[in-house]
């Protein structure tokens, strides 16, 4: 049992900020291992120390194992927190940390290999008798062979990166005509995002809900779950809105799924934070995958369970985290998270990059903002377009929705377009309000870009006034200028 003095962070953006904040509270110094494109970000400014480990391209920096290890060693860090994405589910990275004498904050390399690799995980689940979606997870990655397998399973099928997560490298194939191109594209995205082009195929369940359980293994090897989240609102297999707990589970289903989640985690000797994902269709659940890391949507669990998962991860890595067996774990109230993407909702969500202007989040009870950028920072095209997360908590789901809509409307982000107008439309949709949405909700109701509303008379007048004032400030002589001249 050894307390860390310094932790390196092998990540960027809002999750790097999240980890730094947890370390600050625990009296631990932080070292941000960053690319040269991320100088103008909040994590860079608040970390105790920063080390540039490579250029903007992810393979040269955030996915570069030797560069990350060297950076951590040079800074004297005793542990590395990988955040999510990038190297967080890379067993080779966990091994490399081990070899260098640095503690990897997460499960062991062996656990990552067994559970994190989607293909191994399915094999393990089969042994444990957990229900699985039919699919092909073989070694033969020849496109022609994959095409045959897809045909055997029966369309529609989904192609996923074996080492993946977060929707990267995931493609839905609904006709054989487009199958070849989609499989190749999935392999390319898998390679560029996860360093391995290996993909697998799964039958696509067409009216399923995405439900997942937050699991945690403490320092003594005890595994429990912190209940469920629902993440059915997805676009291109990427989550947009998540909530805890799911509005769709009966007590009995919740108990069964929770037990299944803990069972597979125990089988993998799980340590630290992880997530077991399920698909739920017609009252039956299927194991989807296990993510051996912190999730983007971990805050909604923290809000309803009253836990700090990042601190718990660090304490577990230090060997001093043990569950209090007297403490009841019961979810309280309801929490929703919206991911804020820098994209143009009026052009079908194409990325919007540029320099950020004013950024303002309205403060109030039960509101939480996870943000990686401030005014003046540049949103670059090199990385994921998620620039922030807005999380709310309230006593009931309907109140939480009401609060989220208000908070999104009252948030100001200038300089780049965001998906906020799109999120507000989703939150107001009857199917979301009723909690009956499936993973096809977005493609069914929000397939087309939303329409840019015409400016109203008042808005036009506001624009005129704003332009007048800003021009006045730029070309006119301000009283301040003449004042200083007079000195």
């Amino acid at each position: 049992m050894k307390k860390f003095k310094r932790i390196a962070i092998a990540n960027r953006g809002e999750v790097a900020v999240r980890i730094i904040r947890a370390c600050e509270e625990m009296g631990i110094e932080t070292v941000l291992l960053h690319s040269d494109a991320d100088i103008n970000t909040r994590a860079y400014r608040i970390a105790t120390k920063t080390i540039c480990i490579g250029s903007a391209e992810t393979t040269k920096s955030y996915l570069n194992i030797p560069a990350n290890i060297e950076g951590a060693l040079a800074s004297g860090a005793e542990a590395i927190h990988p955040g999510f994405g990038f190297l967080s589910e890379n067993a080779d990275f966990a091994d490399a940390c081990d070899k260098a004498g640095i503690i990897f904050i997460g499960p062991s390399a062996k656990t990552i290999r067994e559970l994190g690799d989607k293909v191994h995980c399915r094999e393990l689940a089969k042994k444990a008798g957990l229900p699985l979606v039919p699919g092909y997870e073989g070694e033969n990655q020849e496109v022609s062979h994959m095409l045959k397998e897809a045909e055997n399973i029966g369309l529609p099928v989904i192609v996923k990166a074996a080492a993946g997560g977060g929707g990267r490298g995931m493609k839905l194939v609904s006709s054989m005509k487009e199958a070849r191109e989609l499989i190749e594209s999935a392999q390319r995205e898998a390679l560029s995002s996860f360093g391995s082009s290996k993909v697998f195929i799964e039958k696509y369940l067409d009216h399923a809900k995405h439900i997942e359980f937050q699991i945690f293994g403490d320092s003594t090897g005890q595994v429990i779950h912190y209940f469920d989240r629902e993440c059915s609102v997805q676009r291109r297999h990427q989550k947009i809105i998540e909530e805890a707990t799911s509005p769709s589970l009966t007590d009995e289903l919740r108990r069964q799924m929770g037990e299944a989640a803990v069972a597979i985690a125990q089988l993998g000797k799980y340590k630290g934070a992880g997530t077991v994902e399920f698909l739920l269709q017609d009252g039956k659940f299927y194991l989807l995958e296990v993510n051996t890391r912190l999730q983007v949507e971990h805050p909604v669990t923290e809000m309803v369970m009253g836990v700090d998962l990042v601190k718990a991860q660090i304490l577990t890595a230090q060997g001093e985290f043990v569950f209090n067996s007297h403490q009841l774990r019961i979810p309280h109230g309801h929490s929703i998270e919206c991911r804020i993407y820098a994209e143009n909702p009026y052009l079908g969500g194409v990325p919007s990059t540029g320099k950020l202007g004013k950024v303002e989040w309205p403060e109030g009870p039960g509101r939480r903002y996870e943000c990686g950028f401030d005014e003046g920072d540049e949103i670059t095209p090199y990385y994921d377009s998620m620039i922030a997360k807005v999380i709310v908590w309230d006593e009931s789901r309907s109140r939480a929705i009401q609060k989220m809509v208000y908070v999104l409307k009252d948030s100001v982000i200038f300089g780049v377009q965001t998906n906020i107008p799109y999120l507000i439309k989703i939150l107001n949709h009857s199917e979301f309000v009723n909690g009956t949405m499936t993973t096809r909700f977005v493609e069914t109701y929000f397939k087309d870009p939303i329409v840019l509303p015409e400016l109203s008379e008042v808005e036009k007048r506001l624009v005129e006034k704003a332009l007048q004032q800003s021009r006045g400030g730029l070309v006119g002589i301000s009283p301040w200028q003449s004042f200083w001249r007079g000195i």
């Binding site: 990325p351 990059t353 004013k358 095209p381 007048r461 624009v463 800003s470």
Partner: protein, 132 residues
């Protein structure tokens, strides 16, 4: 900057800022952007993407695959090329049937927003519809 106007006897407040020649306005729960140089009537830059007979880059990013050759006959809706930005792939498709008249990019090219990538010579009878 906070501004206020009076319209039909009612006060309206908004937060505004000019960022790189674009005026950003947040008013009543909605953010919108207009060109700061032009007259107030002109709202935001023309929508990029596949528009009429030209395929534009809808975002800054990298061209990673081109499916068509010069002179090739293509159908409306056919995939023209794939771009990558922010680690996601976007397939740009033809909005009309015709013949590929011009290809203005290569694989691995890093292109800016709004760059014309491919020009299509429409087949007679195929009408060009401009996008949003």
């Amino acid at each position: 900057m906070e501004i206020k106007i009076r319209h039909n006897g009612i006060d309206h407040k908004a937060t505004v800022q000019v960022v790189k020649e674009t005026l950003w306005v947040h008013y009543k729960g909605r953010t919108f952007a207009v060109e700061a140089r032009a007259s107030s009537r002109k709202s935001r830059k023309a929508g990029a993407g596949v528009s009429s007979d030209k395929v534009f880059a809808p975002m800054p990013g990298k061209v990673i695959k081109i499916f068509v050759n010069l002179g090739q006959e293509i159908e409306k809706g056919q995939a023209i090329l794939v771009m990558e930005a922010m680690k996601m792939e976007y397939t740009l498709k033809a909005e009309l049937s015709g013949k590929i008249a011009q290809i203005e990019c290569c694989i691995e090219d890093q292109v800016v927003l709004g760059k014309m990538l491919v020009k299509i010579e429409p087949t007679a009878g195929s009408t060009a519809k401009s996008a949003g």
